[in-house]
């Protein structure tokens, strides 16, 4: 085993370490947040019960966009150091954010239908801008898959992740400056219109969602490292020719 493989196994240990505690914390905080949303936070005077989707939809959207930006930050680490473990971190962040992004779009559409009577509004900058960001990142995996050489694949994907990651806050600011059509701007002003109990519930839900993201991220990272070590073990036991590596969009650290 080489020293690089040793460091890889140490990395795997660190990804798995604390995972049960983190998963339990995410479960408890998220359940508490949703419990507060249903039983503690008052119903909105204007929208009534349906406004409670806010406690799911908004934390999901914030964590999703944060995950995209984190993917860009990890990609900077990859380009600076050339260490492919940064590429894997970036890939997993973006992959998870895409999954949560689907939930943001679906919960948003349900809220729109209940609140405005329509599933989607093409003239609303908030909705369309999120869709644009989501579709932009939806091209990340095909981009990776289209490049066979793992080194080039990682480099190009990192450049993409950094560029798209920088686009996310710019896009967010542009939307805040645009004139809203129907989508509320809850945190646009100092007086957000949220009561103290609503703020508390929102913050608990946001913390729970962030914990869930970190838990799933660590889980997938630990899984990828375990798979990587299995491949290395197979090569050591059965020889290099035992199994041809299939082309994949997912990076590996070998």
């Amino acid at each position: 085993m080489t020293s690089s493989t040793n460091s890889s196994s140490r990395g795997s240990d660190s990804y798995g370490r604390g995972l049960p505690f983190l998963a339990a914390a995410a479960c408890v905080v998220l359940t508490a947040g949703f419990g507060l949303a249903v039983f503690y936070a008052p119903s909105d005077l204007d929208q009534g019960l349906i406004q409670k989707i806010f406690y799911l939809h908004v934390p999901l959207a914030i964590v999703t966009l944060g995950g995209f930006v984190a993917g860009g930050v990890f990609a900077i680490g990859h380009l600076r150091t050339g260490d492919r473990r940064w590429d894997v971190r970036s890939y997993v962040s973006i992959h998870l954010s895409l999954v949560l992004g689907v939930a943001v779009l679906l919960t948003g559409a349900i809220w729109a239908r209940a609140s405005w009577g329509i599933w989607w509004e093409w003239k609303e900058p908030t909705l369309v801008s999120f869709l644009v960001v989501f579709l932009l990142y939806a091209t990340y995996q095909p981009l990776r898959f289209s490049i066979e050489d793992p080194e080039r694949q990682g480099r190009y994907a990192s450049v993409f992740a950094i560029t798209a990651g920088a686009f996310v806050p710019l896009n967010f600011m542009a939307v805040r400056m645009a004139e809203p059509l129907i989508h509320p701007r809850v945190f646009a002003a100092a007086d957000s219109g949220l009561e103290g109990s609503m703020w508390l519930t929102f913050l608990v839900c946001l913390t729970g969602m962030a914990l869930l993201f970190v838990t799933l991220w660590k889980y997938e990272m630990a899984s990828k490292h375990a798979a990587q070590q299995l491949r290395a073990l197979r090569r050591a036991l059965a020889g290099e020719e035992s199994r041809a590596e299939s082309r994949s969009a997912a990076p590996s650290v070998s």
Binding site: M1, G48, L49, A114, L230
Partner: protein
């Protein structure tokens, strides 16, 4: 809020939380299938390791006495390169 409106809102609310839960469960199911694949591979590797003939150095019955002059092949696999260079 009238009861009918409340039940209508409740349906959408349950739908939104349900969508989130379903997506989470799909993700967990995909990860679980990957985990079971890894478990299967690990079983295959275990069989492979059992079928492997023992190395001469590890099995004195096969006539393999430790040859102190054999060099790098007997070295612990994780030995750093620098230690090999200083032993010359």
């Amino acid at each position: 809020m009238p009861a009918q409106e409340l039940s209508e809102a409740g349906k959408y609310l349950a739908g939104a939380f349900g969508v989130f839960l379903v997506l989470l469960l799909i993700y967990i199911a995909i990860m679980a299938s990957k985990l079971s694949r890894m478990e299967r591979e690990l079983g295959e590797l275990g069989e492979l390791a059992e079928r492997r003939p023992p190395r001469a150095a590890d099995d004195p019955a096969a006539g393999g006495e430790r040859d102190e002059t054999a060099g790098d092949e007997r070295e612990p696999v994780s030995a750093p390169r620098s230690s090999r260079e200083t032993v010359k």
